[in-house]
């Protein structure tokens, strides 16, 4: 396919503009705002048109319209004149405004409309002649600046572009990503048995649950049916038992009525035998006979009164009253008095003992006014003077004793400071002698010792005397206390009596009162006993009188005449016994009449014969009522059964059976009701199960579809890659040396991954990934691949025009030139339209594209008012 011309009648900012193209390389040069993008879009719109569909347009269609619909008029039209390989020239008119007036006209056939062969979504799509469509054509035939950039920036972009292009013509996605998408879908929307939160596992669990519920529901229904049968049988038994009870009741009523009829006949007969009413009977004087028997018995067991003797009640009362004045006084020593006395005895004894322990006195000593210390001092002085062996042990002991005693008395014995002179000793001896004191050391020592012993005895005596005084005070106090306590107890004590006498008087009074109280108790017992004896005597007298009176009264009643109730009682008793014997003998004659009479009365039971008749009538009526509705055979059987056994027992047995049957029916009714209340609806459970099972079936089918789709996808990918890999390899291989300046000559396209590798020498050297080549080489290899793909993807024998958008913009001058020259070479087999804004491209084109089959087109800037992207 060659594009000869694009006419933009109304497209974006263009009005009646056109752009003609040569069959070779077309360089469309223009600065920014010259309309390159608009012409680019116009080419696609003119060739492929837009889909015509109801409802909301797709996003891409809406964005295309927003960008390229003329702003100032309703019309939106673009057309193209193309030439196909078979030589036909076609004008493709696209009225994008209404999408109705669109058609493809074969200019060589007088304007024949050939739209029908290329209709796509309601409008002609000329790219279909290439085996493409309006979605796949741009991906196949157009290379943008951005794509070149991505190849240069990303190592795997080249491979991805290849994989996308090979996956599908629109190059939406690679087969690998499609497979990933399928796997992801299967994982998320279906899942496996091992994924408990995924739909398939959940659905299976739901089926299992629903199946269990259904089984339970069915089991419950089966249980219900079983119990239902039991209920039915139980009700039958109950009905049968009730019928039986009714039959027995009717039978009993019939028997009762029959019995009453018989009784009525008896009454009728017996009443004839007693026209005057009740016959004589033993019952007539039965009560009198019973009284007589009782009276005789009592009389024979009567008491025999004995009058009491000894002190009378009055005597005893007087004695008792005489002793009662003592009440309220102490009959034994009160504890408070006893405590006071004990205290008095204790302190008195202590005083007596103390007096016995009076200390002995020592004779007094005349020291002539000298103290014990003075005496000892004299002794020492004398001892030093004589230097006699008075300083022996004994002397030292005596001195020590004297000092100890001096200390005890609080006096200080001054030691001799120095030896006194003999004159002083003589003076001392004189002084001693003059004062009548001994003049020898021993005499002085003895005198000092006697003086000390006397002082000590005086001290002991003073202490003893003080203790005597204290004890005497205590004795006096205890004596007062004892006296006071005795008086407090109400004792009468003479004023002159001391405490001991008061105590003795009180104690004696207590003992006397104790004896009186004991005597009063004995008197009261005797008084009580006397009263009892006198009472018994009076009662016995009364009883004998009463029993005798009864004997006399009964004797009168039986016709024995009055008698002295006391004197003649024993006689009357004998007569009454005779009367008893006579009566017993005469009673046998009336017993037969009495029996009949008794029978009659028993039947009548207080009723009149009319009333008995009424009862019979009612019994017959009731019997008829109860027999109504009762099967006659059952009634006969019940009557037979009633005859053969105790009617009451039989009836109770039948009633018990009926009760038991009713209870059983009631129990089963309740069981059935419970089952009914808790029953799960079987159809509902079945519906739930089928719904769950349908979901599982659906997911399994979906899983199968996804699995098979993946299998087909893998297989198709392998095959497509295997097919295209050698084509790409051959296409690039033919041109690799040229675009790499002979550096690389050999190319390999991996059929599995479509990874492109190159090496310097065939059969040797290291394979290098094409993505790792220099940018210039990589972009050329990429363009080669795209053109190779375009050749491959377009349906033969057509060849698609290649439309390039500023693909050299990232290249330096050298690379740009290399690309342009490569494109010019490729343009011998493909129409190539290169949009560029680069000056050097324009310069190259002007000098290199000097004539057919190539063309240089220079666009001018669109006026600002109508400028578009």
């Amino acid at each position: 396919m060659l594009i000869e011309k694009i006419e933009a009648a109304a497209f974006g900012p263009f009005r009646d503009k056109e752009l003609g193209f040569a069959p070779g390389l077309n360089v469309v040069y223009g600065p920014n705002e010259a309309g390159k993008s608009t012409w680019h879009a116009a080419i696609f719109a003119a060739l492929a048109g837009m889909r015509r569909a109801k409802g909301q347009p797709r996003t891409e269609d809406r964005e295309f319209a927003e960008r390229h619909r003329p702003w100032d008029q309703a019309e939106w039209k673009v057309s193209a004149i193309i030439r196909l390989v078979d030589g036909s020239r076609i004008e493709v008119r696209q009225n994008l405004g209404n999408l109705v007036d669109c058609q493809a006209i074969d200019l060589g056939l007088g304007g024949r409309d050939v739209s029908s062969g290329i209709m796509n979504d309601g409008s002609p799509d000329a790219t279909q002649w290439l085996g493409l469509d309006r979605r796949s054509f741009p991906a196949t035939a157009s290379v943008s600046q951005a794509e070149i950039l991505s190849v240069l920036k990303r190592a795997d972009a080249l491979q991805e572009v290849l994989q996308k292009a090979v996956a599908s013509a629109p190059a939406d996605s690679t087969a690998a990503s499609a497979l990933e998408r399928l796997e992801e879908f299967e994982r998320d929307k279906i899942g496996t048995e091992r994924a408990p939160t995924r739909p398939l596992r959940l659905a299976r669990a739901r089926v299992e649950q629903a199946e269990r519920t259904l089984q339970d529901a069915r089991a419950g229904h089966a249980d219900y049916l079983k119990v239902l049968q039991k209920v039915d049988a139980a009700h039958e038994r109950m009905n049968s038992a009730e019928a039986h009870v009714r039959a027995v009741k009717a039978a009993r009523a019939a028997q009762h009525a029959e019995q009453l009829v018989g009784q009525l006949q008896v009454v009728d007969t017996l009443l004839d035998q007693f026209p005057s009413g009740r016959p004589l009977s033993r019952a007539d004087d039965e009560e009198l006979a019973r009284e007589v028997a009782t009276a005789i018995d009592r009389w024979e067991r009567r008491p025999h009164p004995v009058a009491p003797f000894g002190e009378t009640v009055d005597d005893l009362v007087k004695q008792s009253d005489a002793l009662r004045h003592l009440s309220g006084s102490d009959t034994e020593v009160h504890s408070s008095v006893q405590e006071a006395r004990d205290e008095f005895v204790r302190v008195d004894a202590a005083l007596t003992q103390h007096l016995r322990n009076q200390p002995e006195g020592h004779p007094s000593v005349d020291t002539g006014g000298a103290s014990q210390e003075d005496l000892l001092d004299y002794e020492r002085r004398l001892l030093r003077d004589t230097d006699r062996p008075t300083n022996g042990l004994l002397s030292r002991i005596i001195v020590a004793i004297i000092r100890w005693f001096a200390n005890l008395l609080g006096r200080k014995i001054e030691p001799n400071a120095s030896r006194q002179g003999e004159g002083e000793i003589a003076d001392l001896r004189r002084d001693l002698s003059a004062r009548g004191l001994p003049t020898t050391p021993d005499g002085l020592r003895s005198l000092a010792q006697a003086s000390a012993a006397f002082s000590q005895s005086l001290e002991v005596l003073r202490k003893w005397e003080a203790e005597v005084r204290l004890l005497r005070e205590q004795v006096k106090s205890a004596e007062e206390a004892l006296r006071t306590r005795v008086l407090d107890r109400g004792a009468v004590v003479p004023p002159e009596a001391n405490a001991v006498e008061a105590w003795q008087s009180y104690e004696l009074a207590c003992q006397q009162r104790h004896g009186d109280i004991q005597r009063l108790g004995a008197l009261e017992y005797r008084l009580q006993e006397r009263r009892r004896l006198e009472g018994e005597f009076l009662r016995d007298q009364t009883t004998v009188k009463e029993y005798g009176g009864a004997i006399a009264r009964l004797a009168t009643e039986v016709g024995l005449g009055a008698a002295d109730p006391l004197a003649g009682a024993d006689d009357l008793v004998m007569k009454l016994r005779e009367w008893q014997r006579f009566r017993e003998a005469s009673l046998g004659e009336v017993s037969a009449s009495q029996e009949k009479w008794g029978r009659l009365q028993a039947i009548l039971a207080g009723r009149s014969i009319e009333e008995v008749g009424q009862a019979v009538s009612e019994a017959l009526s009731r019997s008829e009522d109860l027999a109504r509705g009762v099967d006659s055979d059952a009634l006969k059987l019940a009557m037979e059964q009633g005859k053969g056994s105790d009617g009451g027992v039989w009836y109770e047995f039948v009633e018990e059976e009926e009760r038991s049957a009713r209870d059983e029916a009631s129990r089963l009714d309740e069981q059935l009701r419970l089952l009914a209340d808790t029953a799960v609806s079987v159809p509902a459970a079945q519906e739930a199960y089928e719904d769950a099972a349908a979901e599982v079936a659906h997911l399994e089918q979906l899983a199968n579809v996804i699995r098979r789709t993946r299998e087909f996808m893998v297989s198709a990918t392998e095959r497509a890659h295997r097919d295209i890999a050698p084509i790409l390899q051959r296409f690039i291989g033919n041109r690799l040396a040229q675009v790499t300046g002979g550096r690389y000559t050999d190319v390999l396209v991996d059929p599995e991954t479509l990874d492109v590798k190159v090496r310097s020498r065939p059969g040797s050297g290291v394979w290098r990934s094409a993505s790792l080549l220099s940018h210039g080489t990589a972009e050329q290899v990429y363009l080669l691949l795209r053109i190779a793909l375009a050749e491959h993807l377009v349906r033969p024998p057509e060849v698609t025009p290649i439309i390039l958008d500023d693909v050299t913009v990232q290249a330096d001058t050298t690379r740009t030139k290399a690309i342009l020259e490569m494109l010019r070479d490729l343009a011998t087999s493909h129409q190539i339209i290169l949009f560029s804004q680069e000056e050097e491209v324009a310069v190259w084109a002007k000098s290199s594209l000097t004539g057919p089959p190539h063309c240089f087109i220079e666009l001018t800037e669109i006026p600002l008012a109508t400028a578009a992207g």
Binding site: A53, V166, L182, A676, S681, A716, A720
Partner: protein, 367 residues
């Protein structure tokens, strides 16, 4: 004598077939009860002498205690109208059946034997009836049978007229099979029957059909039959529509839809005028991009449509012929799938799934 004859009500049948939720299914079962109530009411208003039920009144394996109570109540309320039941293979007579255990009122008579038994009706008319006593393998009631006594004899039972098997190919087993000719040769003047859900009348027999729809696609007039049995045995019939539910098939063409919204809108427009239980079939070719699923319709089901079953027969506008020519994975994929031995439905699903995956779409589930 004037009677109402009906059969095959199938109380307590499950309704999973309609994709009904539990509430809707319950509502369907309630509708079945309404039908029975209508028949009972009609018996009173038409002053009939009796109601004949030709079996399959309920589902023995599924019935609820409530159903038993309901049946007793309905027929007790129309006393003294006589009611005759001839249990069928779904409600076969057994010790656990409603027939055996319910406390029927005196106006109800259940045929309980597996051979025809006679009940003397008015005016020299004798009704012969029998019961299925098992869910299967019931022999023909008319085999070796001949009426006894004078007057007009009619029969009531649940059985498959063998000559009718061709007219209802619904997979039913020949329960209690018989030939129409046996009716005449046995001395019967007419047979009131149950079993076939499609109605059928002839001089010798009456199949009333199921009075309430049980599934989709039930064509023809069905319901209760108001029949007058003439003294000479001829029957005057009048069909009575008693269904509480209408069931319809609705086909909706959504061709040309470019989005699921288009599809939903087209379905909504059609459903505006519909009511009853529907089986909706949505068909037509839509754009390849359309991602439509049945549950998209959940919000547009009219209240007048208590339940529906939606079937999708959508085609998607892929140029499979063109794609198959592509020298791409996509083309190879289409070619391989089309060349496979899979069934056409599976092929279609795999093709659409694969193409959508290649387009980068996530709606890979194809209805």
């Amino acid at each position: 004598m004037k009677v109402i004859h009906f059969s095959d009500l199938h109380l307590d049948a499950p309704f999973a077939w309609m994709g009904a939720t539990s509430d809707v299914a319950r509502e369907r079962r309630n509708a079945q009860r309404k039908v029975l109530q209508k028949i009972a009411d009609m018996a009173v208003t038409e002053e009939v002498d009796a109601i004949f039920c030709g079996g399959d009144l309920y589902e023995q394996d599924l019935f609820t205690p409530d159903t038993s109570a309901f049946l007793v109540q309905v027929f007790r309320d129309i006393s003294p109208v006589q009611v005759f039941f001839a249990p069928g293979n779904h409600d076969w007579f057994g010790p656990g059946s409603i027939y055996a255990t319910a406390r029927w009122s005196d106006n109800v008579h259940v045929f309980t034997e597996s051979h025809l038994e006679a009940v003397r009706l008015d005016d020299g008319l004798t009704l012969w009836g029998a019961a299925h006593r098992a869910p299967a393998n019931t022999r023909g009631f008319l085999d070796g049978f001949h009426v006894v006594g004078t007057g007009v004899h009619v029969a009531l039972f649940h059985g498959a007229e063998a000559g009718s098997l061709h007219f209802e190919a619904d997979g039913k087993q020949p329960h209690a099979p018989f030939q129409e000719a046996q009716i005449r040769t046995s001395g019967l003047r007419h047979a009131f029957l149950g079993h076939y859900h499609r109605s059928r009348d002839s001089d010798w027999l009456t199949y009333p059909g199921n009075p309430e729809p049980l599934t989709f696609g039930e064509e023809g007039e069905r319901g209760a039959v108001l029949a007058t049995i003439q003294p000479d045995g001829t029957i005057i019939r009048e069909r009575k529509h008693v269904a509480a539910t209408s069931v319809f098939d609705v086909d909706i063409d959504v061709s040309g839809s470019d989005s699921s919204s288009d599809v939903i809108e087209k379905v909504r427009q059609v459903l505006e005028t519909k009511e009853g239980v529907l089986r909706v079939t949505i068909s037509g070719e839509v754009a390849a991009e359309v991602d439509f699923r049945v549950r998209d319709l959940d919000n547009i089901r009219p209240l007048r449509v208590p339940a529906w079953q939606v079937n999708l027969r959508l085609g998607y506008r892929y140029d499979l012929e063109g794609i198959a020519k592509e020298p791409t994975v996509r083309g190879e994929f289409v070619r391989e799938v089309r060349d496979s031995t899979l069934d056409s439905a599976t092929k279609r699903r795999i093709l659409l799934t694969g193409l959508r995956a290649l387009e980068g779409r996530s709606d890979l589930e194809v209805p």
